[in-house]
């Protein structure tokens, strides 16, 4: 039995199959729990796989030798975000001014507020760098964290938790700040809470959803350019 296990753990295929199976199982659990973002399939998958790896005394490195083939697809998936971005092109042209100003204010605000709060609470440098792109959609955030020297492996979790927090806070924030405009609501949700915010916005209406998706794409783009520059300026 041990020999069998050793044989299989040496093969990357096992970890690809396991990741896929665990993810499908987690999606089913999430569906039965009413699709709540508190029990997001990715979070459940992470929990199950981590328990499995710890229980079988498998290192993350061994797991990643297989799982990297799934991870690799994040690259082309990021490029594929161009397709929905292009779909919003007419709306971008119509509303270019509020979009431009909101993203030029919102993107740096997301990054700087997270960094300052974390710094004020005494977080370590790597923790701050990992949290800086927290509002950016995961594939881009992971890429940014790899570039600026945080923990890419923690970025995915942080981005997910940010998305959940954003969905919970959105109705309160909009009421408190009297944000009534559908386009403004959508844009704020997409910018602060990426794909999670976009998914929730879509359930509130097509226009809100479109602006959320647009905000997610534009914020990812702006942060990818601004954050590495900010970091290189600050650390000189």
């Amino acid at each position: 039995m041990t020999e069998f296990w050793v044989y299989f753990t040496a093969r990357p295929l096992l970890w690809i199959v396991l990741t896929l199976a665990v993810f499908m199982f987690s999606r089913e659990i999430n569906r039965r729990l009413g699709g709540s973002s508190l029990f997001h399939p990715v979070l459940i998958s992470m929990a199950i796989l981590i328990v499995l790896l710890v229980a079988t005394d498998t290192s993350y490195q061994t797991y990643f030798e297989g799982a990297q083939f799934i991870h690799f697809l994040l690259g082309p998936a990021t490029v594929a975000l161009a397709v929905p971005l292009y779909a919003y092109f007419d709306r971008i042209r119509e509303n270019w001014l509020p979009i431009l100003v909101a993203v030029l204010v919102g993107s740096p605000f997301a990054v700087i507020s997270a960094t300052i709060i974390a710094w004020a609470m005494g977080a370590e440098r790597e923790t701050m760098l990992t949290m800086a792109p927290k509002s950016v959609t995961s594939p881009i955030a992971i890429g940014i964290v790899e570039k600026i020297g945080g923990y890419p492996s923690m970025a995915a979790g942080i981005v997910l938790v940010t998305g959940m927090i954003g969905c919970v806070l959105a109705p309160w924030v909009f009421r408190l700040c009297r944000i009534k405009d559908a386009a403004a609501r959508g844009f704020a949700m997409g910018l602060a809470a990426h794909g999670f915010g976009t998914a929730q916005a879509l359930s509130m209406g097509a226009l809100i959803g479109a602006f959320a998706g647009l905000a997610m794409a534009v914020n990812g783009l702006v942060t990818a350019f601004v954050l590495p520059l900010l970091v290189s300026l600050v650390s000189v």
């Binding site: 991870h71 909101a102 890429g143 997910l160 704020a188």
Partner: protein, 118 residues
């Protein structure tokens, strides 16, 4: 479908090349996304079916692609046990404020231009 795969990976490769050549600290795939958007805008037509099939396929299973990186959390147990509170507080305050500021600015400018989108 193969054409779609080729275009996505080709754009990513061009993006990575661009990053290496210019030395700008931006993820290569983000440049690839820009290049593809630009190409679509220049072409000015509906997204061709062979590209849409592949990109929709990837994007509809995006969540799965985060799992391998997410499991990497296991390497950071020690850091998490030390800093989880800082992280949660930071994320809640920063996310709430970002949403408020962004939405407020957007609404302000839209209304000052006389646009109503209720």
């Amino acid at each position: 479908m193969l054409r779609g795969v080729l275009v996505l990976l080709g754009c990513q490769l061009l993006g990575e090349l661009f990053v290496v050549v210019t030395g700008i600290p931006v993820p290569g795939p983000v440049i690839g996304m820009l290049l593809l958007t630009l190409a679509l805008v220049v072409a000015g037509r509906a997204v061709p079916a062979w590209l849409k099939t592949v990109s929709d396929g990837l994007l509809s299973h995006l969540a799965l692609l985060f799992v391998p990186a997410g499991v990497g959390l296991m390497v950071h147990f020690e850091l998490l046990s030390r800093e989880w509170l800082v992280m949660i507080v930071t994320l809640v305050i920063s996310t709430g404020l970002t949403m408020a500021v962004t939405g407020w600015v957007f609404q302000k400018i839209m209304r000052s231009r006389g646009g109503e989108h209720d």
